[in-house]
Symmetry: C2
Subunit: 203 residues, 2 copies
């Protein structure tokens, strides 16, 4: 299995984290977004969106972090990380959508403005990100995990950019249940961290 | 089954369309976004994000259009609209993600700027939307459907705001394979349209 990967990408980290939790090993192929390596013709053959991560599992190519999480969970995780019951699976999907909306266009973009100088309106991004955190807080004030009663790919999908929110100028102090959940994720057996996610973000 | 619904919402239309294709009937409960009915305390109890659509299936509440599509396909559609094989399901997920990213934050937002006066940068939205259409075009130039060899919820998720792109000032003329696919969707048995999707958008 090969992962087209960048260390500082929260979307790539989702995949690295699930692999670690599943005990899967892979070859990491670094792609340097800052040098435009994701826009080369060769890379666009793999992923027409020109984004990371991309997974190559013995010739099965999957792009998009949510799709890769779903693929790995379904292929290697039984129903542990993705239940197949209609209601339970749809509840996981709700949070995958939040991770692609409020969290990606809010928290991840605010971080990209701050760290990479991207041209988005940081106040709009931060506001959207806080809306996402509020939804997470509401769920997590009454539950340990986002979907169902154990960790699923819903948690893996939402975790990185929630934990990295302070790098986008969004303080996690008003979200105590989110902070407790970040700690629970970090306590999962096999958990690995990424740069920027540490004591300060999780504590 | 009850659908919290708004006629002019492309996200609600995704659900109406899949219900029509599956032959499912439901009670439609109109929620007027323009009058802020999605931000009342009662509605936020149903959906903490304060968005449409929301499905109530005998007390099972599902919010988020992608999650509702997945729920209905899984519960009422066998594997016809959502295959369970890891690779096939992940391929469907790739396009659900595109529908929540380039298509929603690009094409749907450009339409919301034009039709509802929302405060987003329309040029950024249109550019992102065109990136999404380019990815669709590339896939559809060699395949009839987005994932696998028959229509799935991937097509249902991407269809509405692709068909409505002209309402956001994005011309579909440069995307002949997308236009042919719009026609194929409109030819599915049981298909229903929505306001703004007609001969011009599909032709």
């Amino acid at each position: 299995m090969k992962l087209y990967n960048m260390e500082l990408s929260g979307n790539c980290y989702k995949v690295r984290l699930l692999c670690a939790l599943l005990g899967l090993t892979y070859e990491s192929t670094p792609v340097d977004l800052l040098r435009g390596e994701h826009k080369t013709a060769a890379f666009l053959q793999l992923n027409p969106r020109g984004q990371l991560p991309v997974l190559d599992d013995e010739g099965t190519i999957i792009w998009d972090s949510s799709a890769i999480l779903l693929y790995l969970a379904r292929r290697y995780g039984g129903e542990r990380w993705l239940p197949l019951d209609a209601k339970a699976m749809a509840e996981v999907m709700q949070w995958l959508s939040l991770s692609q909306n409020e969290i990606l266009y809010g928290l991840a973009r605010a971080r990209a403005v701050k760290k990479l100088g991207r041209p988005w309106d940081i106040e709009q991004c931060q506001m959207l990100g806080k809306q996402g955190l509020t939804v997470l807080e509401q769920r997590l004030s009454g539950h340990f995990w986002l979907a169902g009663e154990q960790a699923t790919i819903a948690d893996i999908a939402c975790y990185p950019y929630a934990a990295l929110a302070p790098e986008g100028g969004v303080d996690l102090e008003p979200y105590p249940s989110v902070r407790a959940w970040l700690k629970r994720v970090a306590d999962l057996p096999g958990y690995i961290a990424m740069p920027g996610i540490g004591e300060q973000a999780c504590g």
